[in-house]
Subunit: 549 residues, 2 copies
Amino acid sequence: MNPLGKTIYLEMTAPTEEDNRPSEERILQALRDKLSLSEDRPSAPRSDNSETDSPAEEIRMSLRVLRRLHSVCVMGNWKLTVSLSWTGSGWEIVGIEPGRAPLPPIGLAVDLGSTSVVMRMLDLETGNLLGEAGAYNHQIRFGEDILTRIFYAKDQPPHLEEIRQATVDTFRELMDLLQAKTGRDPRKALSMTVAGNTTMIHFLLGLDAFSVFQSPYAVVTLDPGFYRGTDLDLPIEGWVYCYPGLANYLGGDIISGIIATGLYREEKISLFFDVGTNGELVVGNRQFLLCGAGAAGPALEGGVVHTGMRAAEGAVEAVRMEPAGEEAPDADGTLHPVSVFHLKVIGGGTPTGICGSGIVDLLAELFLYDWVDLTGILQPDKSSLIQKRCLEDTGREELAVCYAPGLWFYQSDILEFIRTKAAAATMMEYMLDSSGIPMDEVNHFYMAGSFGAHVSKESAIAIGMYPDVERDRIISAGNSSLEGAQKLLLDRTLLKEIQRITGLMSYVQFGAVDDFLTRMRAAEALPHTDIRRYPSVMKKKQQLQKKRF
Amino acid sequence: MNPLGKTIYLEMTAPTEEDNRPSEERILQALRDKLSLSEDRPSAPRSDNSETDSPAEEIRMSLRVLRRLHSVCVMGNWKLTVSLSWTGSGWEIVGIEPGRAPLPPIGLAVDLGSTSVVMRMLDLETGNLLGEAGAYNHQIRFGEDILTRIFYAKDQPPHLEEIRQATVDTFRELMDLLQAKTGRDPRKALSMTVAGNTTMIHFLLGLDAFSVFQSPYAVVTLDPGFYRGTDLDLPIEGWVYCYPGLANYLGGDIISGIIATGLYREEKISLFFDVGTNGELVVGNRQFLLCGAGAAGPALEGGVVHTGMRAAEGAVEAVRMEPAGEEAPDADGTLHPVSVFHLKVIGGGTPTGICGSGIVDLLAELFLYDWVDLTGILQPDKSSLIQKRCLEDTGREELAVCYAPGLWFYQSDILEFIRTKAAAATMMEYMLDSSGIPMDEVNHFYMAGSFGAHVSKESAIAIGMYPDVERDRIISAGNSSLEGAQKLLLDRTLLKEIQRITGLMSYVQFGAVDDFLTRMRAAEALPHTDIRRYPSVMKKKQQLQKKRF
């Protein structure tokens, strides 16, 4: 444990005529003695490549503390607890209280997503999680998607200020939620770590983010480092650190994810993939790190698809098809086994739409049960649930499958989703191939983000979105952005690792490359035009066919 | 010139797809290149004991600048001027403007006195003085003397806040005055240095100063270092540095004075004396520095004495006696030469009182013309201007001399002033003797402060306040507190000298020592009970006598 904030209890003697050092000096001296004592312990003869900092770490005192100093010293009879916050170049004493502090110090770790923001409160002494709270990003008022917000703020300082304020309001809402949950005052936080994409960090700092989306993509900052909480309008005692990003499309949330998985420390090669509206990909180990990013398509978050929705109450999040044990005649009088959809709905009520993980399940099941062919075309002869429907928006008729009463998944939805998953799968394939890394040498596939956390591995493999490898090599990394923020909050030596990681990374551009587009075309099938790549999927499909007929 | 603030003009190329570094990084890189280039020049092979800082100086950007970055870069077509302020541990970019800044950067140096505050505006490129302004310290509202203010603020945070605000208001008044004088906006100051005594610095920072006057004199801070101007409520862009003090009675104004005189660099021994209500004394050279402080008595600033006043309009600041060429009979009918007082009055009008330098002159003349004897007793037989007068306050009768129409200097005033000058002289004598330094070995006597600046050397020697040495060894150091603040503003390498100076200083306690009191008693004469110490004075007295008779 080497957290970004800590409290230290000091027992000093009251000043005398013989020792009348100023209160500030008395405290700084006592603190330095204690810090060098505790930091020298682990490695008695200090080695050159020491991960800990030199004992001569700068310590200064905030003016706020200096002003309370004398009365607290007297109140506590020169026994007191100081709170330290790491500023990037040293410690700042940001709090002081008489006697021994009754509660351990706390810190906050934040995943600043464009849709939702999650904040954790941690005990900085034990590393224990005290509470977690999530909320929608208040920026949504200014646009569901990030680009709308960027255009809203562009060259309009008052609009930018509204968005900045909305970001801060989200933080304040989360702090209130955490206070209600834990009974601890988040304003006492001695440090806060924030991981977010480049746009989100720009908005938090009050910076115009238009450069994130406009060539040549020279953003304002990729490495803002530490700022005082109050400078950012965040009502906390300590300093705030924003994870650095590598490029406009590869932000601090990804660097934080790399820290979370620890892949940068391993000898074996791993792949990290955060897939959402954009996909960010990192492949490497302790020696090298390749990274890339591309538009994976909003379909993964339930966008574009007609009945698609966010993973919120009412969304179908999982789908299984089961033969019902009956048969029904089709138009020609041929009997077919009746299959039904078993749905898992967020909140448990009536489904009102389907989110990303539900779509992947649905598509996998349709494919495995032959309701769509390899190219994703619906087979109306397979079920009466597949019918021609008139699309409300275009007025055109197309095939659709009814996956829940009144909820239809259209042919065009399927094709759109196949393009999306093809883009995602091709990013992985392209990066591995172009760097000469065989799929076999990838020890772990970390699937990050909300999508990676909720999607079924089997279904994602079945549709050819994930590669067909041993299942335990695919690891759902969860909210790795938040995990990385938490990890750093508790271990300040990671600041050096972060520098090493960003220095090590080389950026691979996708998308525009011809080869990439050819590969993507080949991937626009279920699971792939080259079915030999998906042996386990084809085997499973055969087994299901045997079972049914 | 190595000032605490500077502007640097940067010519960069606009971002391209090949070089799309973030604006912040682009500027920091360009700046580092330029700084290391210019700092490497003077000493090509960097020596170990280099006075300049390492080229890897930390540079960071204020959030305010970061927010303006993009628009300024575009406006100036990537040619821009950045303003740097030294923070104590590195540079902070505190300002930015498109193109080449039309005006050189400015800084402010302040002597924060308890009575008056003087501020200078300096050109940080040439070191030229752009303007100087002085004002009464607004704290005077809360008490003429410092102790009244300290008691007003003691344990009363709202009162302390009033005093802090009054201090800041004084600074703002001076900034307004400087703006009117120079046409330059002082809010653009890239750095401010403040020299003041320990109480004044406490009040500026908003700290209870009671500890300055209460045993064991453990104050809140003696080395506040650097704070952002805005943190101190001062409306300037840059950072503010307060000179450190050595002890409660030996504040930053004295350390600043030591820097101003440069005595800490010399091989020969010098003495520095700032005499006012309190006297602060430093003796030493590059190898050692002894210091001490004591109550010299308010008489030096015109206090205590009945018609005494501050050096303000109407005050007699210089006195000369001349025989009028006539003789007048006394009570016994004996004829005496009539001497008259030639007075210099501040403002040139009718005198309303007498200030410190006037008193020293008056006393010297009275002594040289035998109107008082060696012990300071008025000789009524010498002039009809010496008469018995009834004191308004006590109702007691005592002798007094009329130095201007209606203005009387009383016997008790004389004795009080002799005690005061004896204290001052004994401090010097005691410190030199107790450290075994013969008077002869003191190369320079720097007489600092307002008193030192205005008093006549000859008169001060005549009354035995200054030692009887070659006149050119006595140097009026003027407002050395302000000079030192200015020197530091223009040369940040002095920060290391300041550390060295405070480390070198050893504090000698006066006052309570028996030997000190014995010596002081011996000094309570004009010029001293041991007149052999003042050969030039005795000679002059003899010459005057010859001239008259």
